[in-house]
């Protein structure tokens, strides 16, 4: 069903506004963006515009949606969205963690999203480094007194707080389901290299475990 640019933008914005932490909402939105990929520039600009306008909570949902969008793009072979996100990575993070009151709440999640993008090879190490540097700078800024939530000023409503908690819980659950996935490439090599880097050296705890295991083995002969 071909749409003109105007209609497509409106529909897409609706999808963006309905984003929550569930993977279904993100997938629906990503599939729309990919179905109308010849309007990719238009649709992408909607994302940046929404990031300027919506609440801090909604911005986090959009950031996580971008991860789904990039994954699906790579899978279907249409890389333009990935290029655009990579190019604008710092700008996107700037909007997700703006120099504004309450932005500190988004820092940890933004960092995790950035880690995911690197781990899934959606962005390169270089992109990651510069984005991470920018994020750390911003974190320092919004941690200061003047950016903390003040009682007199308008802040998150009770509803928003509860919804955010639910969405964080959902994201955490999703992350646990995916954190073990071996990224694309030679799995054995990736796993070995990772193990070589991260495995702690032989220590007393290991000796305890080995002795315990020997004891269990010894029971077999009883």
């Amino acid at each position: 069903m071909p749409l003109d640019a105007f209609e497509a933008r409106l529909t897409f914005i609706e999808y963006l506004r309905r984003l929550n932490a569930s993977i279904q909402s993100a997938t629906k939105c990503a599939q729309f963006a990919l179905r109308y990929q010849d309007l990719s520039e238009d649709l992408y600009s909607c994302i940046l515009e929404e990031l300027d306008k919506t609440s801090l909570n909604a911005r986090i949902n959009i950031l996580y949606f971008l991860e789904t969008l990039c994954e699906n793009s790579i899978r279907t072979g249409f890389e333009d969205y990935v290029d655009m996100v990579t190019r604008d990575l710092s700008e996107i993070l700037d909007k997700v963690v703006p120099p504004a009151q309450g932005a500190l709440a988004n820092v940890a999640l933004a960092r995790k999203a950035l880690d995911n993008l690197k781990r899934k090879s959606i962005i390169t190490s270089e992109n990651y480094e510069s984005a991470e540097a920018m994020l750390s700078e911003r974190e320092k800024l919004v941690s200061q007194e003047e950016f903390q939530m003040k009682k007199e000023l308008p802040s998150f409503s009770k509803e928003e707080i509860l919804r955010r908690m639910e969405e964080d819980r959902e994201r955490h659950k999703r992350m646990r389901e995916n954190i073990w996935v071996i990224p694309p490439g030679d799995a054995m090599q990736i796993e070995f290299e990772n193990a070589w880097e991260t495995t702690s050296s032989l220590d007393e705890d290991d000796y305890d475990m080995m002795r315990e295991e020997n004891a269990i083995l010894e029971q077999a002969s009883r």
């Binding site: 389901e177 073990w180 996935v181 071996i182 990224p183 694309p184 799995a187 054995m188 796993e191 070995f192 193990a195 070589w196 495995t199 702690s200 050296s201 032989l202 290991d206 000796y207 475990m209 080995m210 002795r211 295991e213 020997n214 269990i216 083995l217 029971q219 077999a220 002969s221 009883r222």
Partner: protein
Amino acid sequence: MSANASTTPRSGSPASNPQGPLPAIIQLSRPYLTPNQISALEQQVAHINGSRDQQLKFQAFSVILATGSYLRFPIRTMGTAMIIFQRFYLFNSMQDFPSTSDTALACLFVASKTEDTLKKLKEILVASYYIKRPSGPDISMDSPVIEDQRRRLISLERHVLETISFDFRVKHPQPYIIKFAKRLRYPVSLAETAWQIALDSYRTILPLKSTPHAIALGCLYIAGSLIEVDISDAKPDQFCVQPREFENVVLEMLEFYIDWLPQTTLFARYTDPAKFMSMRIDLNKRLGKYTEQCVPGAHLQLRDYSMSDKGTVRYVLNWERERIERESY
């Protein structure tokens, strides 16, 4: 104790005990089996015939590894699946459970749960479908073929869980390979080769007979011999491994490579079994005539599937715990 499961007389009939019948049968988990127990079980199990049996097992391992790769599981998930698979066909016959590929997928599903790398059963089934038919008609999770297979596998899963006595403690050699290699200051290439050998160790019955750190040390030893790095300073007792156990691991891995090299991970790098044969000769020379330890262990029997129809079955991880709990009633 004369069998894998034992009957313990309990007081309290269903009528007098409002919580229902107390456990009538206790099954003790045995993470490790002695060589005698394993050969006794193999004799009890009615197999189709010797080498065909092994081929079916290798095919099942391929299913596990290919499906696991597709789903991007870490090696420990696939390894656990292979260990569970082998244990399954020690206590259950292939005549009762003829579809080894169904069993392989059920084991992979159980492993994905115990190793905390959860995937829905239907996702696993769809993945194995794509691997068998890469150009075939697309299939979705709602298809009746998948739904059918899922139902079969859910009931198979119950048999798998009962066979492993709901004991999800599986330890792997990989972390020890890294730790030992670093402690001994071995080059990365040695550790990487040992890592590949560890994958092949899952194709043998070793994980049911030996500890993961013993297997790790064995893998490092063979790797060292292959890439010609001096490994003479690796002393088993330094790493909580009995010298006998260490020798057994190495010899069994060498036997395995000599007999089945084309089916192994190392075949990509070493196509001539002669290398392994000369390693075996050298080792036997140093040890004299080698015989595997003859510890009998308790007599074990094949699984009785009707056990849970006769009464409540209680699965116990070790006797100490069971005794302590019973004393507190």
